[in-house]
């Protein structure tokens, strides 16, 4: 079995050693990383008093009792449409951001990006910056290399453990669960979840990194299709940067530049964005003896966590983390050129920029019809959910008539129907409810097992009560086929009121 180089479909991973960079986007990313990680780790520990019989955890997905608590909001399973609405809002939110600013989700807030960033930070702290790490990579195994590697892996593992550990705190009372974990009394599912999430965090953040984005994640494909020529995204102003080169070579390349209309041999072709043909028209400034601003220092490539060259144009592997902008701005400042050789820019601005005009202002890219429509849709669903939340009945009541049998004849000839009435008490204390039947005179309601017309439902439970409605012999509802009736439910303490309509079945002799 012989293999030629062209025969293999397998490409080994090229190791990436992102260099440290400083700048406004890096600062923004540090802040976002800090805030998102803080939210993730701290959220389960926030307490929220809900009374004695409800959990006091502000954010809790209580799968065992089928409750979702979010600060003052409590969602029962039948209100799952709130969660569905939030997911739809998250989807449309992604549309908004992607159509306006490209893959900002990928670049700044995606957990894969944030945790990889954190892991690279640790790596840099233990093993040094790019050059030191490259040297260490190429060095043979030694005691020092082993020590650095093991130290790094242990810290990664601890971070991964904290990540996997924090996840389960959203599903159970955090302090109790932590104590159970420490004393090895936690349920198996808690341990296995921690184990799995620790493993995925460790492997994804430490070793797979950019491969997760390139090979595993569907978003690059979807988001690429959601961008348009007006979308601001990280790109290289090749009309300003080319022909690239440094020092003597820089001048030599400049001298080699052929007549306008051709590109330099070294330059990679620009991959066209959807809906936009690649323009190869060189800028007027690209005169024979004027080299471009790019000094080919490779700073943009060295800082890239994805290991790509942004000067090759828009590409699927680019998560638009903007670190190359910081790196290039730094270099431009050093060589006395204006910043923004690599920058957030839109393809629709390219012809104007080539002609030497300034790009359109940011707001024209962000506030467009498309993003407006998305925002309107997003806001509409948000307002709808808010409205649904506010008008959510304080008393949840469902009435299911018992249909086997449809009615019972009592000894005095009166006709009785039975109903199962479920009362949801979402509050932290026991509440009394008065049940009455309205709408038709003569009907009498009574509750099985209760003396009066009032039942009490314990805290945070559903009370199921059988209610009898009796129509006297010979009355209209007793003889009619069906009669519409209305149950009136009053909470005796707060005075909250709810109605539920149902049907009374008579003998149908009328």
């Amino acid at each position: 079995m012989s293999e030629t180089p062209t025969g293999s479909l397998y490409a080994p991973r090229e190791p990436i050693f992102p260099r440290r960079v400083a700048g406004k986007f890096r600062t923004l990313k540090w802040w976002i990383m800090g805030v998102t990680l803080a939210i993730y780790y701290v959220m389960p520990w926030i307490r929220w008093d809900r009374g004695p019989s409800l959990p006091d955890q502000a954010v809790l997905v209580d799968l065992a009792h089928r409750r979702f608590y979010f600060f003052w909001i409590q969602i029962w399973p039948h209100e799952f449409y709130f969660v569905a609405g939030l997911l739809i809002m998250a989807g449309i939110g992604l549309f908004i951001f992607t159509s306006a600013l490209g893959r900002v989700w990928c670049g700044y807030t995606c957990p894969q990006t944030v945790w990889t960033d954190l892991f690279i930070l640790v790596e840099r702290w233990i093993e040094g910056d790019r050059n030191a790490r490259v040297r260490l990579w190429n060095a043979p195994w030694s005691a020092r290399k082993l020590r650095l590697r093991v130290t790094k892996w242990i810290i990664w593992l601890l971070i991964a453990l904290a990540t996997g550990g924090a996840w389960i705190f959203y599903f159970a009372d955090a302090p109790t669960l932590l104590r159970d974990l420490v004393t090895f009394q936690a349920p198996l599912v808690a341990w296995s979840t921690v184990l799995i999430l620790t493993a995925t965090t460790f492997v994804f953040g430490g070793f797979m990194r950019e491969q997760v984005c390139i090979y595993m994640c569907p978003w690059p494909r979807i988001q690429a299709a959601m961008m348009d020529p007006d979308t601001l995204t990280v790109a290289y102003r090749d009309w300003r940067g080319e022909p690239r080169g440094k020092g003597m070579r820089r001048r030599a390349i400049a001298a080699e530049v052929p007549a306008a209309g051709e590109t330099t041999g070294r330059r990679s072709p620009v991959i066209p964005m959807p809906g936009k043909a690649a323009t190869a028209t060189p800028a007027p400034a690209l005169a024979k003896d004027v080299p471009g601003d790019c000094i080919d220092c490779n700073a943009c490539v060295n800082v890239c966590p994805m290991g790509i060259d942004i000067r090759d144009g828009q590409q699927m592997a680019c998560i638009t983390c903007a670190l190359c902008i910081d790196a290039c701005d730094d270099v431009m400042a050093k060589i006395g050129k204006p910043r923004g050789l690599i920058d957030y820019l839109a393809l629709s601005d390219e012809p104007a920029e080539r002609a030497g005009q300034p790009p359109r202002p940011l707001r024209q890219h962000v506030f467009r019809l498309r993003t407006m429509i998305y925002t309107a849709l997003w806001a509409l669903i948000g307002l709808g959910l808010l409205w649904a939340l506010l008008v959510r009945p304080a008393i949840d009541v469902t009435v299911s008539p018992i249909r086997n049998p449809q009615y019972v004849t009592l000894s005095d000839g009166s006709i009785r129907n039975a109903y199962d009435i479920r009362l949801l008490n979402k509050q932290g204390e026991q509440r009394p409810f008065r049940i009455a039947v309205e709408g038709v005179p003569g009907l009498i309601a009574s509750i099985e097992g209760a003396d009066g017309d009032t039942v009490s439902v314990p805290a945070d439970t559903t009370g199921l009560h059988r209610v009898y409605v009796t129509a006297p012999a010979g009355s209209a509802p007793a003889n009619a086929h069906t009669t519409d009736i209305l149950f009136s439910i009053d909470e005796m303490v707060s005075g909250e009121h709810a109605d539920a309509d149902s049907v009374f079945n008579g003998k149908g002799t009328q």
Partner: protein
């Protein structure tokens, strides 16, 4: 079509020799991880066959060294449920019904368990909704042939009605008046019974029937026709009829009598089950 193996010049990979209209099949080996997974499953399967029941024999199957069987697992599950419910079942069996009926820890368990007992044993005659049928009493209403208190219901469940198996079964027998009374007397009595429950009737015949009723029926059904739960004599004045309240049906009942039978459940159900089904029936809406 199937020549000997050749090497594909472009990829350098051997072909299987299969060639369809110039399309050749490359003989790429399986990925190693895939192959090892396959070998792993084979080893696993061998181990599985040894550990668990696997090979069908003429009688039964190989037992497996772990001694596992699905039947034993079901038995263990049932035993586990029984063990879990032992305390509440013990409470059901030992406590008296009056205590169980009100706010007892075992009350809800008893009602729910009684519903299951009812569906399995009673619904064949009394209906899944306990509404009964012709000849089988409706347990939802407020009329009870043999009394509707907890103790009455429990006695009926335990001993049954008019069965031969249990000497303590509730018993009473209405004579078939077709052999004792004339046709006219039966017709007159029928009109009187219709009058008792306020239905349309022939007043003259009912007047004559009143005397027949007093002589023959009132012993059990009482002078005013309100019946006697002590001997299972139905109340004839109310709107509830076990066999039907129409003229022909009442006449048929008087002439041929009725003899409804219910089995004794004492020997078949456990003490806890009897209590549970009693609690269930009692809270269906008619319990006294």
């Amino acid at each position: 079509m199937s020549d000997k193996n050749k090497q594909d010049p472009i990829t350098g990979v051997d072909t299987t020799g299969h060639d369809w209209d110039g399309i050749k099949e490359l003989n790429n080996p399986l990925p190693r991880w895939w192959l090892w997974t396959l070998y792993g499953t084979i080893v696993w399967a061998i181990g599985y066959c040894i550990a668990y029941p696997a090979w069908p024999l003429i009688e039964g199957a190989t037992a497996g060294v772990l001694g596992y069987s699905t039947r034993a697992e079901v038995a263990a599950d049932i035993a586990a449920v029984d063990a879990r419910n032992a305390e509440v079942n013990q409470r059901l069996a030992s406590a008296d019904l009056a205590t169980l009926a009100v706010d007892d820890p075992a009350h809800q368990f008893g009602v729910a368990g009684g519903a299951a007992v009812f569906r399995a044993n009673c619904s064949q005659c009394h209906g899944a909704g306990a509404a009964g049928a012709k000849g089988y009493p409706n347990l939802l209403d407020d009329d009870w042939l043999w009394g509707g208190t907890l103790d009455d219901v429990e006695y009926t469940v335990r001993h049954g009605i008019r069965n031969d198996a249990d000497p303590d079964a509730r018993f009473s027998q209405m004579p078939a008046f077709g052999e004792l009374l004339s046709r006219e007397e039966i017709a007159d009595t029928t009109e009187h019974v219709l009058a008792l429950s306020g239905q349309d009737h022939d007043a003259a015949m009912a007047g004559r029937g009143q005397q027949v009723f007093a002589d023959n029926c009132a012993v059990c059904h009482a002078d005013d026709g309100t019946g006697d739960p002590a001997q299972g004599a139905p109340d004839l004045t109310d709107a509830i009829w076990l066999y039907g309240g129409a003229r022909e049906v009442v006449a048929e009942t008087i002439e041929k009598a009725r003899f409804g039978v219910m089995p004794a459940w004492g020997p078949r159900l456990t003490e806890a089950e009897i209590k549970a089904v009693t609690l269930y029936v009692h809270q269906l809406g008619g319990g006294e």
